[in-house]
């Protein structure tokens, strides 16, 4: 079990630093098709922000803000977004994750629909990876209780 740190420098720096990490993770997720990155990488950075909070502020404080129940819900939402978009393409009449078929229900061209579909899948993967990383880390910290 991780206790809270006594050092005021580490606590303050990490508290100021965490929002910037999360904004940078969102940038990596949203900008993933123009630059290095994408859903998985952005999710890992987002989870690293939570791991930094657990290390410096203690597990109890972090669980008060972001509980385990909420973590499970986020994990399920991420998987649901990913497989939901894939199954939606399957239902409309294409292959699994065939984004260009999304232009039948969205008022855009096929190329734009493909870009939007990739963005949606990346958001789903990012949410799922963030939740799973936080859950694995808190399992390791508490010894699987």
């Amino acid at each position: 079990m991780i206790r809270t740190t006594d050092d005021v420098i580490i606590k303050t720096v990490s508290r100021i630093f965490t929002p910037f990490i999360q904004i940078f993770a969102l940038y990596v997720i949203m900008h993933g098709h123009y630059s290095p990155g994408g859903g998985f990488q952005g999710g890992v950075i987002l989870g690293a922000g939570f791991i930094l909070l657990v290390i410096t502020q203690g597990l109890d404080e972090t669980r008060r803000r972001f509980s385990q129940k909420l973590d499970t819900i986020f994990c399920s939402i991420g998987l649901l977004v990913y497989s939901g978009i894939g199954m939606l393409c399957l239902i409309i009449g294409g292959n699994y994750l065939d984004y260009s078929k999304l232009s039948k229900i969205l008022p855009v061209l096929a190329a734009k629909a493909r870009s939007l579909g990739i963005l949606g899948v990346e958001i789903g993967v990012g949410i799922g990876v963030m939740a799973v990383m936080y859950s694995i880390f808190s399992d390791i910290v508490t010894g699987g209780e």
Partner: protein, 88 residues
């Protein structure tokens, strides 16, 4: 200008080797931690120099920023582990 970046990058690679010596043969665990942290900082600068050499520094800024964030969190995690185990 690319020649200059190449020379600076090679010099930094030599400095990484010196830090690696401290990381492998360090007398105590804190020496190893400081050596590995210094390697991370030098790797960040080497990545940016590679970006200048290839002419795509906008891509390499993202990579080096992620590297610095993970280096910071990793150093803190190892320090926390040593504090919890009471080895220092």
């Amino acid at each position: 200008m690319q020649q200059f970046f190449l020379i600076v990058g090679t010099g930094l690679c030599f400095l990484v080797l010196l830090c690696l010596y401290r990381g492998v043969f360090g007398p105590t665990v804190l020496n190893r931690l400081a050596g590995i942290s210094a390697i991370g900082t030098k790797t960040l600068v080497i990545l940016l120099l590679m970006g200048f050499i290839y002419g795509r520094v906008d891509m390499f800024v993202d990579i080096s920023m992620v590297y610095s964030i993970l280096n910071f969190i990793g150093t803190l995690a190892v320090a926390k582990y040593l504090e919890t185990k009471g080895e220092v």
